[in-house]
């Protein structure tokens, strides 16, 4: 049986520069793919291609054996994106932000208050996101991962701006997700400290 998430011969050209060519991997439930590379080597571009925000110049991404470009709607139900930009409205409170968020994708059935308590932002629940610190804003964005029920997590630099406890938290969230049979593709300079199968992809 083929892997759940599979990338074949991906190449991306940005302007007249070849970012990378013929990148491929196969990921099964419970596995983590760590994407490494210098700044500007195309880590974010690779994640954007995997999310379907951008098309690769060649190659394909398959979910459950089917080309994701053919069944985009179905693929989107299965993925969660955590990027550089928080995706939170600065003028709204975390509570209001998450309320909108929950109407956009399938939910895990977890209560928002419980999720926010775990993320340590229950205290600032009704303040505008604008006045929160950068780390707290990242924590609000993390709530999306816990409230959603998608098996595939695409994380772009999930450890940035977080304090040590926050980094531990992200580490725990990812390893829990993988142990429950989820998949995770992560662009980061550090790996996940857990007993889970990890693959590494280094972009030149």
């Amino acid at each position: 049986m083929s892997a759940l998430l599979e990338a074949r011969d991906l190449s991306i050209i940005r302007g007249d520069r070849l970012l990378f060519r013929q990148v491929g991997f196969a990921l099964n439930p419970g596995e983590l793919l760590l994407v490494e590379g210098a700044n500007g080597s195309g880590k974010t571009s690779l994640l954007r291609v995997l999310a379907g925000l951008m098309d690769a110049d060649s190659g394909m991404v398959c979910w459950n054996g089917a080309d994701t470009r053919r069944a985009r709607q179905q693929y989107r139900e299965n993925l969660l994106w955590y990027g550089h930009r928080s995706g939170c409205k600065q003028d709204l409170s975390p509570r209001e932000n998450l309320r909108c968020e929950r109407a956009l994708r399938p939910g895990s059935g977890q209560q928002p208050d419980g999720v926010l308590e775990r993320l340590g932002i229950l205290r600032v629940l009704d303040l505008p996101v604008r006045v929160l610190s950068a780390g707290q804003q990242r924590r609000v964005a993390l709530a999306r991962l816990l409230l959603g029920a998608a098996p595939l997590w695409l994380l772009d630099e999930p450890f940035t701006n977080l304090d040590t406890a926050g980094q531990e938290l992200v580490n725990d969230l990812i390893s829990e997700h993988l142990l429950e049979g989820g998949l995770c593709v992560m662009a980061s300079h550090r790996g996940v400290d857990a007993d889970v199968p990890q693959q590494k992809l280094v972009l030149q």
Binding site: P29, A51, G52, L53, M54, D55, Q73, Q74, R76, E77, N78, L79, W81, G83, H84, R85, S86, G87, C88, K89, Q90, D91, L92, E96, R99, C100, E101, R102, A103, L104, R105, P106, G107, S108, G109, P128, R144, A149, A150, P151, E180, G181, G182
Partner: protein, 231 residues
């Protein structure tokens, strides 16, 4: 592996985006008042500049109000998607399993409620400063109602195409104006005709048809444009 649980309904997705945009406007009332203030200032400056000749004002009145309404709508379009683009909510909407045209329609609805509807309601008051006859005062909100809905919808296509561009504002106007011309011509003309005692039915039918056309096509065009400009 746990299968994806209950997917929220279409209406929930539409309502959530609409609610969020209205809530944002509520927290920043300045952004909403801007187009309305612009509309009121431009259309009240004309009588002051042209002079107190009642007959002349009555002739140019409908045209001036319509041009002011068109420009006021343009003014507010630029921020339709650019804020979402900057804070990443646009990415999240693009990646949502909810159909993008539906979410876009929710944004257009919010935009119209916040920028178009106030103009429709303010038009009769503005009309008084042009000494417009009662028939035109009645006709103006009707044509503006249909017209501003079309403008919000057509404008969303342009806003989607120019999102992420640094100086997208001028380009946005260039893209939108040709499509907005029929609305302006029929809107202003039928308001003016009503001053002469003619029926506005023909103009209103055209504006209604244009509105329906935008309503059915614009959300899809906007969704496609957003995907392209986010590549």
């Amino acid at each position: 592996m746990t299968p994806p649980l209950s997917m929220p309904g279409l209406w929930q997705g539409f309502a959530a985006v609409l609610r969020r945009d209205l809530l944002l406007a509520w927290k920043r009332p300045g952004d909403v008042l801007n187009p309305l203030v612009f509309f009121a200032i431009v259309s009240t400056l004309f009588p002051l500049a042209i002079g107190p000749d009642a007959e002349q004002l009555r002739v140019i009145g409908p045209g001036v109000v319509w041009v002011a309404a068109l420009l006021a709508t343009m003014l507010s379009l630029n921020s339709l998607f650019s804020n979402d683009f900057e804070d990443g909510s646009l990415e999240q909407m693009l990646l949502s399993p909810q159909p993008l045209p539906l979410l876009v329609l929710a944004k257009s609805t919010a935009h119209w409620l916040l920028s178009g509807l106030p103009l429709v309601l303010a038009a009769p008051v503005i009309g008084m400063s042009f000494n417009l006859p009662v028939s035109t005062q009645m006709a103006m909100p009707v044509t503006l109602l249909l017209g501003t809905i079309s403008l919000s919808l057509i404008g969303s296509v342009g806003a989607a195409l120019t999102v992420g561009l640094h100086r997208g504002n001028a380009l946005l106007s260039l893209l939108i104006l040709p499509l907005a011309m029929p609305v302006l011509i029929f809107g202003a003309r039928s308001s003016a005709l009503s001053a002469a005692g003619d029926s506005i039915a023909a103009g209103a039918y055209f504006l209604g048809a244009y509105c329906m056309l935008s309503l059915t096509l614009a959300p899809f065009a906007t969704a496609a444009a957003l995907r392209i400009s986010n590549e």
